[in-house]
């Protein structure tokens, strides 16, 4: 969205009001003493104020702001909303601020013809999602006498994962409801090499093969020792739904950290076991969305 002059508002700051009062006092003094140079000083500074007002307004004009995807946090952590801001002009835009309710303001400067981004750190309280409803892009540059701002309504949704339980019991060992045909991969017996995909555990990378061929390959193992777990809401202990989801989140994280393939079963949603980052994201996302409360608004 391009910031246009009609949508940019401007008001003096408290410093600007103090500056105005100072000018008024100077004006009265100079008029009373019939002091022309005092008047010249007063008018010179008043003109500076007028120029500062125009420059402040201009500092926002024609900027192109774009809300980008947010990184989902765990509940209790900060959701990071990114807003890219591009300066198509020839003049650097200094000290731009992005302000959203509950988040500390983020300040960037954008060089002429370049792009930069704000990071709004919105704290989250609970699982579910959070919406960035309203953001002010503002500036007090130069001098801090005026504050110009424009309002964005990006409406960016950000999932909030359940907070992983701290002391979760280990997941139940028996494969139980695990899908019968699931590949059983473990770490016991070397089974062959396959192409690397992001998310494969780094300790499985065949570094010797990489040194030989320059290709990233991953060792595959087959074994009976570990089965592929599929975590189910029914298996998770806990007093209420949120506690059980937290336990599930902990299990998902642990399994991902060990490089295992894992699946997730929630009422109405069944995620087949797979290893990797994408699977972690998918599962945590399902936990965040499951029977989710109304999104929080930032």
């Amino acid at each position: 969205m391009t910031l246009r002059s009609g949508r940019i508002y401007i008001l003096p700051t408290s410093l600007g009001s103090a500056f105005g009062l100072m000018l008024f006092a100077m004006l009265l003094g100079s008029l009373n003493y019939g002091n022309n140079l005092g008047l010249a000083l007063t008018f010179f500074l008043s003109a500076l104020g007028v120029v500062a007002m125009h420059a402040c307004h201009r500092n926002l004009e024609a900027l192109v702001a774009r809300a980008m995807d947010a990184d989902p946090p765990f509940a209790g952590h900060e959701a990071l909303f990114h807003i890219a801001v591009a300066n198509p002009g020839r003049v650097p835009r200094c000290d731009l601020e992005a302000v959203a309710t509950g988040a500390p303001e983020s300040t960037v400067s954008v060089a002429a013809g370049s792009e930069s981004s704000f990071t709004l750190r919105v704290p989250t309280r609970r699982r579910g999602s959070i919406v960035l409803e309203r953001v002010e892009i503002a500036t007090r540059f130069p001098y801090g006498l005026f504050r110009a701002w424009a309002v964005l309504h990006p409406g960016t949704h950000c999932l909030v994962y359940p907070q992983p339980a701290r002391d979760a019991p280990p997941p139940p060992q028996e494969p139980g409801a695990a899908g019968g045909g699931a590949a059983r991969r473990g770490e016991d017996d070397f089974a062959g090499l396959k192409d690397y995909h992001p998310g494969d555990p780094p300790r499985h990378i065949a570094w010797k093969a990489y040194a030989r061929a320059g290709e990233l390959l991953v060792k595959e193992f087959s074994g009976e020792a570990e089965v592929t777990p599929v975590f189910s809401l029914d298996d998770a202990p806990g007093s209420d739904l949120e506690a059980r989801l937290s336990v599930l989140a902990r299990w998902v994280l642990d399994a991902h950290a060990r490089g295992l393939a894992f699946g997730l079963r929630l009422p109405g949603e069944d995620i087949a076991p797979e290893p990797g980052d994408a699977q972690r994201r998918r599962c945590l996302g399902a936990l965040a969305r499951f029977d989710a409360p109304e999104p929080d608004v930032a």
Partner: protein
Amino acid sequence: MSPEQAAGFRRLAWTTGGLVAALGPHLLRLKPWVSGFVLAACAWRLLAELRGWRLPPPLLRGMIAGTVTAGVFLSYSTITGLDGGTALLALMSALKLLEARNARDQTVLIFIGWFLCLASFLYAQDVRTAAWVLPTVWLLAAALLVVSRRGDDGPPLRPFRTTGAMLLKGAPIALILFSFFPRLAGGFWGAPSSERAVTGLTEEMSPGDISDLTLNDVVAFRVRFEGALPLRRDRYWRGLVFSQFDGYTWSRGDVQAFYREPTTRLDTPIDYTVTLEPTGQHMLFALDMVDRWTPGIARQSWDFSLRAAKPVNAVLRYEARSFPRYRAGEQITAGLRNLNLRLPPGRNPRTLELAGILRASARSDAEYIQAVLDLFRRQAFYYTLSPPGLARDSVDDFLFNTRRGFCGHFASAFTTLMRAAGIPARVVGGYQGGDWNPVGGYLIVRQSHAHAWSEVWLPGRGWSRVDPTAAVAPDRIERGIEASVAGSELLERGLMSDSEFAWQARMLWDNLNAEWNDWVVRFDRATQDEILSGLGFKEPGWAAFATALATGLALAVTLLALWLAYEFRPRRADPVVAAYRRFIRSLARKGIETGTGEAPRDFAKRVRRLRPDLSLPALAITETYLRLRYLPHPAAEDLRLLRNLVARFRP
């Protein structure tokens, strides 16, 4: 030092620098302890920031504040008024500096700095002060920019440059406000009191007073003549008349009410305009014999001098007409006659004796006057810039011992001799001569032109000017002071005339000062009315002011907006990208839009799928574009080709 600490120090250094610059014009004027305290506080605060010292706790600051306020009260005997107020403002800025931790404290300091600049103008409005204050205001604004910045403020001089550009953009607005903001006739709460000592003539004259002034090259007033410049010997600028003598000091006396005798004007008048520098005195200066002057500005006293109702504390301009040939006061009242014959009893006995002897051997008053002048001329009397001090009976001491004197000594001795012989006489103080400034076409009268002469009353001739100095040193009157005393004495006093170049430079500088007085310092309601009627306003009233101000401001702000719009105009796209964008846009109009992150070749493939008829030109455009963008040395004709292809591309 961490980067944050470095940034904190930089901010503090900008603020402190601005503050010290604003204090600059005051440092010599303030009491030494005030200047010393403020400078020490500035230095200590910067060191504390560098070394990480703790700032003084509130209790200690409170104690310092109380002490210095009491100090101001003791040294200035007031904490209001210009001197006391400025001292207090300077001290408070130092105290604020001692507790300045954050941006807010520093903005307060910057505001105080601006007030100190205003105070400098209340003391002096000359070119020198303005030349100092303008960069100071600029520096303070740059400091405000540095303090208000969130991010890095770039290279060290950037804030100064940015602020300079802003001030320049604001200049038209400031000029319009200055020109059309209506000036008040008087103040809201009374005119400022005169607290400063201005060098120049005063209401009293003791031996040596005027010769002290010759040291002083400061301009007393400037005169522009309507016609030709009057002869040097006619350039007697009457300031005030001393009628009372206590044997050592001449004074104006407390006699106020006398009938001013009519004057007879002879010959042709001289019209001129005087721009008088502030004197802090009531006297105005005019050529003898003044006949007409700017109405309401002064009254002519019974001794023919002009006196303003209020002390002249600001540059004052007035017009006047004088007749160099005149006859004044042919009738004299007994009271006035007695006043001008009075001598302090028992003082200067030898002079009285001498007067008796000389008068006895003269047949008439005129002959007696001539005899006295001859005495000065023939006997060993010297005209000198550094006369020795005189005893309590100053005329006796001068006539019979030292015999070395400046104009004041001769005038005093001559007048005493006249009065002793029964001729009504008085001393007139003022200026004589003046330097012609060919650059500006006006006469500069300096303090060094200060002069004293005598007036005697003779039956049938009235008051006539007699300048005893002319008898001793005729060159003083005819050619100026440089010609009348020995070169070594001038050299000693730094009055030797300069080289041609230096002289011209001085004349240019003086002309600048004169124009400055005319256009800036003396810019008043009358000048505004003149400008307004020049702009075609029939009757300059509030409506005219409002119209001129509003129109001027609208124009100036429009100019500013245009200037900023030009500065902030978008970058011109690279011609290659611009041509390719035209291609994209023409497809977008047909509903084929590029996806986010879609590479040009992928887009071309999609175009082929969607519109096989456009496949060939789209592919050609894409390939040419890619060649231009990504080849290390793209061919110039490719750009022409791309433009042609895009121009002919009609989806």
